[in-house]
Symmetry: C2
Subunit: 466 residues, 2 copies
């Protein structure tokens, strides 16, 4: 697509995902089709988290005194928090913040819940709306003022090692999640000046959008004992001593929905992975005057049968041209189209068309379940493979800041470079290249920092970001 | 129970449903067990609504200008709306309200969506958090400042008749819902001075709590054309003329969860209807040293087998006394307990204990599925029947205001009376009896108003309310 930004804006409207005409900037209405897509995408994440977290729900509002307790944290958020000052006609004694994230809502309660090492580990999560008063240009699902699907997990452990292990586990959960959505990702440790306010370190997942910019789609933070210190989350260890808890938190928001739309879409519209498509397939009866009723009847039977097997399926029996139906469902990204006409009726067959490749083929109705299962799996693999190829091919190793500058200006991609890891050097690189360092991808044993020339310690990434 | 208020407060804590120590009055944390109960209760409602509504999601915040558009509406809410005045350190140009309900968030968008009679009927719903700055004494799940499960449906129709029919349909949906929760209800039309601000008329569902006070658990409003007028929701009818839409809205909130807890609970704790119990049954192995492993193995097999059949089931294999386990699960309201011990192993049997009646009986493991299904159904019927009996027996017909006064003072019940229906007379009754008129239950053909003595038109109800 030539202009991703325009394409993205148009498809959100044409596929009836959201309505951005709501009279507050950066806040949008989820329309039925968008709501269903959102629900399917959320459900996959929740199913993964449910395996070892308990779901809870904390209040939206946070008293100013709690939000302000952790110095770094409030500094990171104070410019983008919405403040409630009045209840009805009365001025409140204390301002209340709309949660930008829930550490300061949860941790005072954790202090009450955690008493002994037997209470640990504590692992909970919630899916909530969060708010940021974004002053930059807003963009639906990507830079918004009300995030509607923030799914944040918070854990407390009895040792530093266990918290570190939880960070690794969380990374595995998110890999599994993005794999199911066929989304490719880069995992980096964010530079210290870009970590979560109050965290020890932040691991982040980024994907790449069709315009070459990377989009952060998930973060995992090791908080160590900093919040535990502030909120007095301590436990009695087996030796009978009081010790501060070790914490992690990790979250995913609406941007993952933007990625599913952006990464897989094409000129014809959405192209949804079967795992999250509100309709995984649509049946289009090919009706001529004669055998019309018989064809329709066959379609209905097939729909019911596939539905019973757990597929999400729609029968499009509208009285309009088949071509118009094809166009609609392709644009809405339905993975599979099943056509049945009078000739298929005689042959006990149907024609299947794939949204991802455009391929069409005939199948016997007797083994259509296996065929659609197989094809849906193949679509997921194909989408995943294509997306990973695109991501991998957009990474370019460069050996100097000048080259990086040139690459960033000219092309649309991700720069991989050897780096010393020093903050001073990193900030200097960012200033020269005028984009942010995504983070550290891994260790680098040989070679020199591509900027300052001292010993390189890390392999790091740079890119234009959302 | 002698003191319902205390019982309710204690059980919320003991059964780990919510934590009310959150540092803002009237806002609470849903703990894992409470969250699961909340989810099951919500899911039943959503399944019913999904049959003919599409789910959407609107922003939480409403610009002051929209909220203020409908005169009656803003008057009804202005004293209890939370206002955001600042984004970060910046004062906002326009104040933003946290939705107390979503008419004024939705209807400006409806005006964009509705063009022709072909766009109608429009039927949508959403489940959201809503806010009321309650100044009265707050009470968990009953009078709260953040409602977390407000499920509000909104419809637009092309004729007054169709909107009226939708009100009837909504009443049927809610009856089905409350029946599934085994909750008894009174359906009345609220007095005109107590209808939803801006509505033509309001139908309401109330249930009765153990202390004899009624609790509103659902409302259905016919908005007629008043909001359509204000927000310019008009459509082109088949004759090519522009006409204002006819609207309804109806909603249910956290109070239904309070009712499930309060109506069915007893001295031993929660007593949950099987449809919504997070665990529908618990297996307790009766372990003596010898056959311990065999018993446990049998329990595991049974758990897996019942789980596969779709039951929500927990195996309590904690190393504590069986009596303590019984106590815990009774208190948490699990409908069925299945005990398996060494003797049962030999007989291929198990013992089932009902939470509602305390009854215990032996079942053959070969047909345990039918037995538990049967017993769960019987529990639902029994809970429903008992609750209806209690409701019905607490309604007393009285013939004078003085008698009503006495009844209200002395007993804990609902007063049924013949009423003329005039606002002046109604307000006078409320003043004298010092409780609110719930509403009109039906027409009354003979007799005189129990207060003013003129011809009675209606049978109406009075009660202490939450």
């Amino acid at each position: 697509m030539t202009n991703f930004s325009e394409w993205f804006h148009d498809i959100l409207e044409e596929a009836e995902l959201i309505d951005s005409r709501y009279p507050i900037k950066g806040m949008h209405v989820w329309l039925p089709h968008g709501f269903q897509l959102r629900k399917e995408i959320l459900n996959i994440l929740k199913n993964i988290l449910d395996r070892e977290h308990e779901e809870v729900l904390f209040p939206l509002l946070i008293p100013e005194s709690e939000l302000a307790k952790e110095g770094m944290h409030i500094k990171g958020f104070e410019e983008e928090v919405y403040w409630i000052t009045h209840g009805g006609l009365t001025e409140l004694k204390q301002k209340l913040a709309l949660r930008p994230t829930s550490e300061t809502a949860m941790y005072p309660m954790f202090a009450l819940w955690v008493r002994s090492h037997n209470d640990l580990p504590l692992k909970i999560y919630q899916t909530v709306n969060t708010f940021r008063y974004e002053t930059k240009h807003t963009r639906p699902l990507i830079r918004i003022r009300e995030i509607t699907t923030f799914t944040e997990a918070h854990t407390v452990h009895s040792s530093r090692k266990e918290a570190e292990d939880q960070v690794d586990k969380a990374i595995e959960f998110y890999k599994e999640y993005f794999d199911l959505l066929a989304l490719p990702y880069l995992i980096t440790q964010r530079p210290v000046w870009d970590k979560f306010p109050g965290a020890d370190y932040t691991m982040a997942f980024d994907t790449i959008m069709p315009d070459g910019k990377t989009l952060q789609i998930g973060t995992v933070h090791n908080l160590d004992q900093s919040f535990a210190q502030t909120f007095d989350i301590s436990f009695e260890n087996p030796a009978g001593e009081h010790e501060l808890g070790y914490q992690t938190c990790y979250g995913i928001s609406d941007r993952v929905i933007a990625s599913v739309i952006g990464v897989h879409g094409d000129e014809a519209g959405l192209c949804l992975p079967p795992n999250v498509a509100p309709n995984q397939m649509v049946i289009v009866p090919i009706i001529f005057k004669k055998e019309g009723q018989e064809v329709l009847e066959k379609c209905r039977i097939l729909k019911t049968s596939l539905q019973k097997q757990g597929f999400r399926i729609h029968l499009d029996d509208r009285d309009i041209r088949a071509g118009k139906k094809y166009y609609d469902w392709e644009m809405r990204g339905v993975p599979l189209r099943i056509e049945i006409g009078p000739r298929d009726l005689k042959n006990n067959s149907a024609v299947i068309a794939r949204r991802d490749t455009g391929e069409k083929f005939k199948v016997d109705l007797d083994n259509i379940t296996e065929k659609v299962t197989e094809t849906l799996n193949s679509i997921t693999s194909n989408l995943r493979e294509k997306a990973w190829e695109k991501l991998n091919s957009s990474i370019k190793q460069v050996d100097s800041v000048e080259e990086a500058q040139k690459q960033i200006e000219e092309s649309k991609g991700i720069i991989s470079f050897a780096w010393c890891g020093r903050e001073e050097c990193g900030k200097d690189i960012e200033e020269k290249v005028r984009v942010d360092i995504l983070g550290i991808q891994g260790k680098e044993k040989n070679g020199n920092c591509f900027h300052c020339g001292s010993n390189a310690k890390y392999r790091a990434l740079l890119s234009k970001t959302y």
